[in-house]
């Protein structure tokens, strides 16, 4: 007993224990979903963001230049593919315009309210990446638009290829994006995304809840009926629930198997976004968020 008291009398040990308790308290407090950052956090984020802004873009240009040189031989092939894509696009555009007009007319006929009409009219705002944290346990990306431009927590972030993450914290001029690779079914703070297959919105339903760090794929679970789903289908968010925007491209099905308890099916999804070499990202604003 005397020895224990002597040990506690050690000032260093005492300070260490206090520090440990303090840190665990801070971590626990900041772990849950926080709606707003405090002003010191915002100030630090904005100041650092300003400096990072100066560095990231030139570095990207220089790296991009060397990459372009090494990719020179692939240019012809890429050009051919783009021409084919363009031909598809012009053909689809005529078709799309026709359907869209018809859709507007039908909504008018059925007396849709303004809110219902505008529901899927998303605005995509471009954002420049200003720094990257590749820590495999907690990957985040910082972008250069923030609360001043109306960014809010929970908005979807999309790259040119596909969905990459969700805005996790916003300061005045910068915001932090938590990548989809941090998704985890066992974490109460991480929400699943309701998804469907492109072109089969009425037949396929599933939820993307977790990311497998070892194999680099998403797991789409709770598929009731796997008949409609096929390998190589493009998986997009379905917007069921109304929080997450619909039509965000997530990836491609590579494998379908029977799920954990044998009642539902799970599919393995290869992400569409590469999660590397960050340049521009798009933040998707839903109409409700803009009105507030």
């Amino acid at each position: 007993m005397l020895k224990l008291f002597k040990l506690l009398g050690n000032k260093r040990l005492f300070v260490l224990l206090i520090g440990l308790i303090l840190f665990i308290a801070v971590m626990g407090f900041t772990l849950g979903s926080r709606t707003n950052l405090s002003w010191p956090e915002k100030f630090v984020k904005d100041t650092v963001g300003f400096v990072q802004n100066v560095f990231y873009k030139p570095a990207g240009y220089i790296a991009g230049f060397f990459e372009d040189i090494s990719n020179l031989h692939a240019l012809q092939e890429e050009n051919e593919q783009l021409k084919i894509a363009l031909a598809h696009y012009t053909r689809d555009k005529a078709h799309y315009n026709w359907i869209e007009q018809e859709n507007v007319w039908l909504k008018d006929e059925l007396n849709f309210t303004l809110e219902q009409k505008e529901m899927y009219n998303y605005t995509w705002k471009i954002a420049q990446v200003i720094s990257v944290n590749d820590d495999p346990l907690n990957r985040t990306v910082v972008v250069n638009i923030g609360a001043r431009e109306g960014v809010k927590e929970g908005q979807a972030v999309h790259s040119a290829e596909g969905l990459v993450g969700v805005v996790s914290h916003v300061s005045n001029f910068t915001s932090t994006v938590k990548l989809l690779t941090a998704m985890d079914a066992l974490d109460p703070n991480s929400n699943g995304i309701a998804v469907t297959a492109e072109g089969k919105a009425n037949e396929v339903f599933g939820v993307i809840e977790s990311y497998d760090k070892a194999s680099g794929t998403f797991l789409m679970s709770r598929i009731e009926d796997p008949k409609a789903l096929a390998v190589h289908d493009t998986i997009v968010s379905s917007g069921i629930g109304g929080v997450f925007p619909r039509g965000m491209i997530i990836g491609e099905v590579t494998d379908i198997q029977v799920g954990e308890y044998g009642l539902t099916y799970t599919a393995t999804i290869k992400p569409a976004a590469s999660f590397t070499d960050w340049k521009e990202l798009f933040i998707v604003f839903t109409p409700e968020a803009e009105k507030e």
């Binding site: 650092v48 990072q52 990231y56 590749d134 910082v142 914290h169 985890d184």
Partner: protein, 176 residues
């Protein structure tokens, strides 16, 4: 001396910026999720070994907190705690201020393992990671050790010289 030290700390901040902005472009795409060197941390180990472990502790806490706030994903405090603790412990190990190169490199190796393991431990304590420790070890901790070791070799000569200039001007009894 004061000025020299504040310039060094400013350089640390610059290193922190470089770590988040320029470094991702230098790492090959295939390795981008696996090599995440903590350059600032390595430089702070030098501070705590050659100058004073309390300086190391304070710098570790501050730069860790900066990292936590700027890249706020799940929680604040993981880096701050790990960096502060590791820098203090590594400053405690060497007996004299005149640590030779081999010993310093061993300290850097131990330090890299310790930092990544502490961070992994914190995240698994809060249930944010469910992979086993061996996965983390093979996935990013070991590759990190090599890169950080190289970085420590590069900065060894200039940083040690600067830190010795700072400590030399101080009176001898203040050294400990």
């Amino acid at each position: 001396m004061r000025r020299r030290k504040s310039i060094l700390i400013l350089l640390l901040f610059l290193l922190f910026i470089v770590e988040g902005t320029i470094l991702p472009w230098l790492i090959p795409t295939a390795w981008q999720t696996r090599i995440v060197p903590h350059l600032v941390y390595i430089a702070i180990i030098f501070f705590s070994v050659y100058e004073n472990r309390h300086t190391g502790l304070v710098l570790g806490l501050c730069f860790g907190l900066l990292h936590d706030v700027v890249y706020y994903g799940a929680l604040i405090g993981a880096y701050s705690f790990a960096m502060g603790l590791c820098c203090y412990l590594l400053g405690l190990l060497p007996r004299s201020r005149q640590t030779p190169l081999p010993l310093m490199m061993i300290l850097v190796l131990i330090g890299s393992l310790l930092l990544d393991s502490t961070i992994f431990g914190t995240y698994s304590l809060f249930g944010l990671v469910h992979e086993p420790y061996t996965w983390a070890l093979m996935n990013h901790i070991i590759p990190n050790v090599f890169v950080q070791f190289l970085f420590a070799l590069i900065i060894y000569v200039p940083l040690r010289r600067q830190l010795e200039i700072i400590t030399k001007r101080r009176s001898p009894e203040e050294k400990n």
